[in-house]
Symmetry: C2
Subunit: 135 residues, 2 copies
DNA sequence: TTAAAACTATATAGTAGCTATAAGGTCAAT
DNA sequence: ATTGACCTTATAGCTACTATATAGTTTTAA
């Protein structure tokens, strides 16, 4: 299996595969005589794993960490669960921050309507005057 | 007022101020004979405006756009409001996406406890097997 | 058979918004 | 005279790719 086929089967760009290889997330595959990379089923699974992790919002560093656990299958999986717990709290704090931001933006937006000149715009005035509530 | 004082008064790094200047968000200030930048009150207001916009999550491009409106104060402020509306929907869709992600992560986490080996870890299995629900 | 299309390779730069580092010039105080 | 705090520019680093340039290889079609 060459890089293009692997890419298509997982739904990523060939560049991304080479990028993961350089980052140490995918093991360097064997090469044909002409230098083309040759991939196996294992590579496909590894790549799919990376992609699913990315969809879950994990960073490449976190994925690397998960891979290191996979390489040591008889350890307790405490660290895996802890990584996920950390990620969940990270996502939750992002949600909280964005909800606060949304409130702030909505209240700013309410301070204007479309029938004014820029000079009298409530939105711009609100930002300029800095009457922004914390967090 | 020199760059260090401006930076301290607004609470940013001096590097950030030079960066905004290069990006065209802050007008190039006058220089002393020795080349040091000299800032006025206006620069302070401009910088504070940028920072408040950043806190609201606006991109530098959006800030640039707002500044272009400020330079034309007798236009109607429709575009300002539209920019904010767009930003609000952007924030809302981020929230929605993160909430879906949180659900997914929590359900993944529920598939394991700490008393297993990595080999049997429900979390890793969940990711590897790809039984991930869309969005 | 040959020429074009489609694939592969590497290296490099760009994206966003800074932050950090290096290497140097300036200024006030000791 | 030298230390320290400030200023200058230029450059690289961060994340996770994506795009571009340039070149070699394979496959397909005429």
């Amino acid at each position: 299996m060459r890089i293009g086929q692997l890419a298509q089967s997982v739904g990523v760009d060939t560049q991304t595969i080479r990028f993961y290889e350089r980052q140490g997330l995918l093991p360097p595959p064997d090469r044909q005589e002409n230098g083309y990379r040759v991939y196996t089923e294992k590579h496909g699974e590894g790549l799919a794993f990376i992609r699913r992790c990315r969809i879950l919002g994990l960073s490449l560093a976190e994925i690397h960490e998960l891979q290191s656990y996979q390489d040591d299958p008889h350890q307790p999986c405490t660290a895996v669960n802890a990584l996920l717990d950390d990620h969940i709290s990270h996502v939750r704090s992002q949600i909280t921050a964005l909800q606060a931001l949304e409130k702030q933006l909505v209240s700013l937006r309410a301070s204007c309507n479309d029938d004014r000149e820029v000079e009298a715009c409530g939105v711009l005035a609100g930002i300029s005057e800095g009457n922004m509530h914390q967090q």
